[in-house]
């Protein structure tokens, strides 16, 4: 494929963030933090009225966007900042743009947006094209 600086990467969309996936991830992460599992705890902590997606799931969405955009590549580095929460039931979209190309190394910036809301994650990555 022919990549150019400034190219927008195809977005990766999750139509509805799943509370069932949060239960799975509590096991994957060996971290039963109740804000991901029990809406009553979320309410009691004043954090909203729906369970909150684990931060690493949001990173995984952005990785999925990068892997789909560069099917022959692999992620070499990735830095992401957590700006806000993603709640069960929300639609989120990961987007990215190519910022530099150095041989087989492509640099990108990316973000994860909540539909109708704000950017909840953002960061940079380099991908090595095989």
């Amino acid at each position: 494929m022919n990549y150019q600086v400034g190219d927008a990467l195809p977005p990766f969309v999750i139509e509805c963030v799943s509370p069932e996936a949060m239960k799975q991830w509590a096991v994957f992460l060996a971290d039963p933090n109740p804000i991901h599992l029990d809406v009553e705890v979320v309410k009691a902590m004043g954090l909203g009225d729906r369970v909150i997606n684990q931060g690493p799931i949001n990173v995984a969405y952005m990785m999925n966007m990068l892997m789909a955009a560069f099917p022959t590549g692999r992620i070499e580095t990735m830095n992401s900042r957590f700006l806000d929460n993603v709640y069960a039931g929300e639609k989120v979209t990961a987007r990215g743009t190519i910022t530099a190309i150095d041989g087989a190394r492509i640099s990108c910036e990316f973000q994860l947006d909540v539909d109708g809301g704000s950017t909840v994650n953002s960061g940079t990555a380099t991908v090595l094209i095989g």
Binding site: I14, A21, V59, M67, R74, I75, T77
Partner: protein, 150 residues
Amino acid sequence: MDEFPPAPNVAGVSLDGSKVFIISAAENAALCRSTGIEPAADGSAHPIYYYIATQVAMGKTVAGVCETCEFDVADGPMMGSSGVSFRGPLMVGESYKVTGEILSLVRKQSRKLGVMDVLTYRLRLHPADGGDAILETDNVWVLPRKELAA
């Protein structure tokens, strides 16, 4: 910041783990599908295992890391940022172990969160049978210090 006691001095605390972490094909498949994709056909695991494997197999639990920082995990640690540098792909069926350490714990005041400690720690994932790390990750957590709120 003079009105607050300093953050606990925890820089250098080891997070070396003794567990062996194996990425199972079944779990990798379930994880991939939970994020909206199918698992790779070439035996590579989802790269988010950089975070999962290092967290699960480091030498302290999340609650234990918080306890080291004199912070109750029930008070709600928040992820600030996460960075990773891979030297190769993570593979399904491979065995890994973790080394690492706390880099810093810095007390700050934020308009949004009040007094908070910013924890930075570094973890490396190695082949379980030895050798150079296949990845290194730096994670930053924010620990809100409600007890120090004005």
